[in-house]
């Protein structure tokens, strides 16, 4: 046990006196969490600036504008009176969309003809585009219902007799697992662990690589009686402990600050978070073993960790990617972790549905250890020491 204690003390000393280690394991994870909590706030997208050009100036056109205004998601800017000006406003990013109520809007409706509402939305930001599109559709539906009721009354048909004719098929839509379609609820569980895996990868490669860079690998191994597994366990322990403290903090932030309910197993979520961090640690160790060069290992490890975000399927889903990319997405532990997060945090799925993803994570923890013999030979070979 004394060997373990001395090795752990050595790592903790690094954490205390080395600015980079402290940044990687303490301050940057905290900064990243604070950043995303502040960024997402309550996660609701609101006050998207749009222009409404009312060319009709009638009670009906104003009624439609009121329907749009009822949604707090839009902020109607009054400065735009022509389509050309509004189009320029979109290009200058002062507004995201323009909704035109054309001349003769009311006249067409009253004469029993179909009236048109024209909406042009900037497609360069899909999150706002989706919101504007939905609000305009909702406003059009609400306006249509009121207009149809008015027409029925004019024809002497009173509710409830109007109901089946007006809406013969009622569409009931249930949004499962994120009923409020909250953007923060969706994105926070992706970004916070993403930050943790990048920083854990970097901290691990740095912790092992610096023994090579500063030529201290012999001293490190001697402290572990030249048993690499013992040396690695002590090296990885403080990183994973600080990582797990961040994971717990992350879950507290999800639940208590961002009001994301945990529908599934918290225990499974914690275990898989531990496996995720351990997987990226194992991959970090493997990269040092393969390259024998801290800088190259950091370049590769950082790139691999950052790419995980793209392949997680949480932005653009893997099922829509080309087949080789779908296969490739399985080579990132983060992809499997996100499945577990969606299952256990959002869906409340029985644990058995997360079992295969957990096994995949476990394989990422274990497989890189096949490179341990090579790492040992590198650490004991003087030609790798001090190598830039």
């Amino acid at each position: 046990m004394s060997g373990y204690k001395a090795l752990l003390k050595r790592e903790i000393r690094y954490l205390r006196y080395d600015r980079t280690s402290r940044l990687l394991q303490v301050w940057l994870p905290l900064a990243a969490m604070l950043f995303f909590v502040v960024l997402f706030g309550d996660g609701v997208i609101r006050s998207i600036s749009v222009a409404v050009i009312d060319e009709d100036h009638t009670d009906l056109s104003r009624a439609f504008e009121q329907e749009l205004d009822l949604s707090k998601r839009l902020q109607i800017e009054a400065d735009y009176t022509t389509f050309v000006a509004a189009e320029r406003g979109i290009r200058e990013e002062r507004i995201s969309a323009v909704i035109v109520i054309p001349d003769q809007f009311a006249a067409h409706l009253i004469q029993g003809q179909r009236a048109t509402i024209f909406t042009a939305i900037s497609g360069t930001n899909l999150s706002t585009e989706g919101q504007v599109s939905a609000v305009v559709e909702e406003a059009a539906d609400a306006f249509t219902s009121k207009w149809q009721l008015q027409r029925f009354e004019e024809n002497g048909i009173q509710p409830p007799a109007t109901q089946p004719t007006l809406c013969p098929i009622c569409i009931r839509s249930h949004t499962l697992f994120n009923p409020s379609l909250n953007y923060g609820t969706y994105l926070a569980p992706v970004f916070l662990p993403m930050m943790l895996i990048i920083l854990t990868s970097m901290a691990t490669i740095y912790a092992v690589g610096r023994e090579l860079k500063y030529g201290t690998s012999d001293e490190w191994l001697a402290g572990a009686d030249y048993r690499l597994s013992k040396a690695l366990i002590c090296k990885m322990a403080p990183i994973i402990v600080s990582g797990m403290v961040m994971v717990i903090l992350m879950i507290i932030l999800w639940h208590y600050i961002m009001a994301i309910p945990i529908h599934g197993s918290l225990f499974w979520l914690l275990c898989s978070s531990w496996l995720l961090l351990a997987a990226y640690q194992s991959i970090g160790v493997m990269l040092v073993a393969i390259t024998g060069n801290m800088r190259l290992a950091l370049s590769l490890g950082g790139g691999y960790a950052v790419l995980a975000f793209t392949f997680s399927g949480m932005t653009f889903p893997a099922i829509a990617m080309w087949q080789p990319f779908r296969v490739l997405s399985n080579l990132f532990p983060f992809t499997h972790y996100m499945e577990i997060v969606v299952d256990q945090l959002l869906r409340g799925a029985p644990v058995r549905y997360s079992f295969s993803a957990t096994c995949s994570l476990l394989s990422f923890v274990l497989l890189p250890w096949v490179t341990i013999p090579r790492l040992k030979s590198i650490l004991t070979d003087p030609k790798y020491r001090g190598r830039l």
């Binding site: 999150s127 098929i169 697992f177 970097m202 950091l298 975000f309 099922i319 299952d343």
Partner: protein, 366 residues
Amino acid sequence: MKRIYDEVVSTLRRIGHDEGILLVMVGAPLIYATIYSAAYAPEVIREVPIAWVDLSHSPESRSLAQKVAGGSACRIAYAVPDLEEARHLLYAREVYGIVFIPPNFAEQINGLQQSSVTLFLDGGYFLIYRALYSYLATMLTSERIRVEVARLIDHTPSFESPVTNAYPLDEVQRTLFNPITGYGSYVDPAILILILQQTLWLGIGMLRAGKKTYALWETAGQGIAVVLLYLPTTLWLFAVNSQLFYLPNNGSPLSVMLFLLLYLLVVVLFALATSRFFRFREEPLLLLFWCSIPLLMISGVSFPQESMPSWLYAIGRVFPSSPAIEGYIRLRSMGASCYEIREEIILLFVQLLLYGMVVIRSAIKK
């Protein structure tokens, strides 16, 4: 001049002989750009699998199923007898939505009553949810209008124009600058701008770390070397890669070129100015990888500017990538003129001046 020229040559040699820097400054921009663009190249989500729970077993429900299966947005992967089985498929990620037809669907439709169709859609994956909801709602609305028109014709002869009454408002939506609302067309331009900044920042940090000050001629030589190295990279990212993956290209080529040149110069000065904070050559790698995603978010692309605190958005303006992402998207994707992106251009010039002054000041101290 001779000293500057020698420094340019020596910097390029150092980069060429350092595999870590070479990977970051030459390999990474090309690899990242290709991977990101290729991953998002399909642009839209097609054939999302759904489960169909039909308890009606009627010609009406079968006709509805045929209608839904006819489009490309989703496919009926499973027809299951009950919601329990459908839920199992949803948990197992075999399907991402369920359409439930109640037992009395046909009777209600034919008996002048109100019927219903229930959708259960997975809100855990935003883009999939959006694609499914938009497609299924359109399909079901068109079926609703068909039944409504038939009822109006049959049962309310007092109506002169039943079709118009069932569908009085024609809501025409057009998505500008990205007509198919493609994900790649939306996010790739921003990613390319960010790749340029991050790899350059990392590379210059690795080149210069460990030495607090450099002479002016050394700094100038290094800056020129990096600009020379990045000119072909910029050309590849924004001309070749953008063409290969059909990214939006509505801007004037000359304006785009000049804007990118300005951005490249600002990023080089920004990286030179901040490199003094790195104490050893690996430190930029350790400390900068994590901030790529926050920088993308703070630029207002992935998360709308209107929904983030204004002070956070203002902090983002310190980095060249934020005004450059906004300016580039508007210039290249939206076809805006230089005048229409004047605020971004002015901000980049202010950054050029500020970071230039920091670089010159720290070099003069030497």
